[in-house]
């Protein structure tokens, strides 16, 4: 279990001190995939680096399996880090080592015998589906392949935890999906606890069990992914679900209504039913909705016919069905 208690990190610069993290309290259970999401500058990269003490917190504690990292000697800290794998946005493979030797690196550090290390590395390479690339050098691999090698390397020392710092942010959507699937597989089959840092909703959506939303150096919201995103309480969580904010009104003519999808009213086809019930045509000006775990989020901007009676019918229908909307 990873416990982050009351963690604060400030940087001293020539222009005074900058607070990167403030009073962070997070508990990450064994076996879960925990997401940390936030916009850039929210402090997520600093936070993940505090978990393995690449960055020393200014105050507060990081406790991993009961050991408080701040109280360890340097040697003990290095030993603990060997148990926490990490993958990066930029892959960070050793360019002068081939794939299999890259995966062997953490085993060399841990003092594992060469033959055993090679065997372990080959098994991992098979797990990530790159057995045929053992002798290739990183420069000969695609981004997705590099990240798979990086994941294999991070797991080589039989690590219990895996920290992913924007691991898919440099990859295209298809590759992102396959790397995320790999992470999920690793979590399910090896029981590795995974901490995912990202600014992308879809990453949290597709693999995380719980999520912490980071905003302005603090945890704005924390909980089950479904719970947080079906009922976002913080502004930042709302913003992450609807990245464009309120859709702009472009047309001047006619009455317009903004219908908000906040996860409650998605199973039925709201718009079609409304049109059929009211027997009134409407014009969709702009729509941005997404499906999260079978629930719709987002908004649709519709334009109503000029006559007042159809407008009344529609608002009455929306009221009757408890739909959140606003006239614009």
């Amino acid at each position: 279990m990873i416990e982050i208690k009351n963690l604060t990190k400030t940087y001293r610069t020539a222009k005074g001190s900058i607070t990167a993290l403030k009073d962070i309290d997070i508990k990450i259970e064994d076996g879960e995939i925990f997401g940390i999401i936030g916009l850039s500058g929210a402090g997520k990269s600093t936070l993940v680096r505090c978990i393995n003490y690449l960055e020393r917190p200014t105050s507060g504690q990081v406790i991993i399996d009961g050991k408080e990292l701040g109280k360890l000697t340097n040697r003990e800290l290095l030993k603990t880090r060997q148990n926490i794998g990490m993958v990066f946005q930029g892959f960070n493979l050793l360019a002068q080592r081939n794939v299999i030797k890259n995966i062997c690196y953490p085993l060399e550090i841990a003092g594992v015998k060469k033959a055993d290390a090679l065997k372990g590395a080959e098994d991992l390479l098979e797990l990530v589906g790159l057995s045929d690339k053992a002798k290739a050098y990183p420069s000969q691999l695609s981004g997705g392949q590099k990240q798979r090698v990086a994941i294999a390397r991070a797991l080589a020392a039989k690590t219990k935890y895996l920290l992913c710092d924007e691991a898919t942010s440099a990859l295209d959507p298809d590759t992102t999906r396959s790397v995320l699937e790999l992470l999920k597989k690793i979590n399910r089959t090896l029981g590795v606890t995974i901490v995912v840092i990202t600014h992308e909703m879809k990453v949290i959506d597709s693999i995380c069990d719980r999520v912490a939303v980071l905003d302005n150096s603090t945890v704005a919201e924390i909980g089950e992914v479904r719970a947080v995103f079906s009922n976002p309480r913080s502004d930042i969580a709302k913003k992450l679900i609807m990245p464009q904010g309120e859709l702009p009104v472009t047309s001047e003519n006619g009455k317009k209504i903004r219908i908000i999808y906040n996860g409650n009213n998605s199973s039925e086809s709201l718009l079609s039913n409304m049109i059929l019930t009211c027997s009134t045509p409407v014009n969709i000006l702009h729509a941005d909705t997404k499906d999260i775990d079978g629930k719709a989020y987002g908004q649709i901007l519709i334009q109503l016919p000029e006559d007042e009676s159809s407008e009344r019918k529609i608002t009455a229908y929306l009221d009757a069905n408890n739909v959140t909307y606003s006239q614009v």
Binding site: N52, M86, Q96, R97, S139, A154
Partner: protein
């Protein structure tokens, strides 16, 4: 072609000169790397953005390196005559010259090494730290192997620079092409000897350069083959 030049060739003086130039250059460079490489590593590692910052130490080494680098070689040579006497028992000949060349080359090699090591991707170093590598292991398993092609290019440049310095060996009774050009050519007004020495030096430099770069390129795994 003057008779003197033909004589020099027949007596094997020119061949001897080539050999002495190569000998002076490679022996001095080797010894310079024995001291300069660790110094370069120290400069990189103890830097304020390095993997083990020790700022006062970094400043001290930096200043010493800069002082030695700013002294012109001729002056350094004269100033270091007693040092050569102390180290190899004589302040004359090739042995003494090697001491001078090493003194001049160590700071140079240290800076070359430093600049190569600083090219290593910070992310790769961070990854090594995240995997629990000690500072020492990062140095010999990450920094040096990752910088190897760049270090080799640096070595080629250092070799050529040291070869240039070695031309001064004649002034303290050492040998090499530089000595032949000055003593047999320039001082006796036999300019064809000077030009032959220049030509031979150019050939030696070209060989070191081309061969060194070839090895550096071959060893670099970042290039798709």
């Amino acid at each position: 072609m003057s008779e003197e030049l033909i004589q020099l060739w027949d007596k094997g003086v020119l061949l001897q000169g080539i050999w002495e130039t190569i000998y002076l250059t490679f022996v001095s460079s080797f010894v310079a790397y024995v001291f300069g490489l660790p110094l370069g590593v120290l400069l990189t590692v103890t830097d304020k953005d390095g993997i083990h910052p020790v700022i006062w130490l970094n400043k001290i080494i930096g200043v010493i390196v800069n002082i030695f680098r700013s002294i012109p070689f001729v002056i350094l040579m004269v100033a270091c005559l007693p040092v050569a006497k102390l180290v190899v028992g004589t302040s004359l000949g090739n042995k003494a010259m090697i001491v001078m060349l090493v003194i001049a080359a160590v700071p140079y090699v240290a800076r070359m090494t430093e600049s190569s090591l600083k090219e290593v991707d910070k992310g790769v170093i961070e990854a090594a730290q995240a995997m629990g590598s000690s500072t020492f292991k990062i140095i010999y398993k990450v920094l040096i192997p990752e910088a190897k092609p760049s270090l080799m290019i640096g070595a080629v440049i250092s070799l050529v620079t040291i070869l240039g310095y070695s031309a001064m060996a004649g002034t303290i009774g050492g040998g090499g092409l530089g000595m032949i050009a000055i003593s047999f050519g320039y001082q006796r007004f036999k300019y064809d000897i000077v030009w032959i020495c220049v030509l031979l030096t150019v050939i030696v430099v070209q060989l070191i350069q081309e061969f060194g770069m070839l090895i550096a390129r071959k060893s670099d795994k970042r290039i798709n083959k």
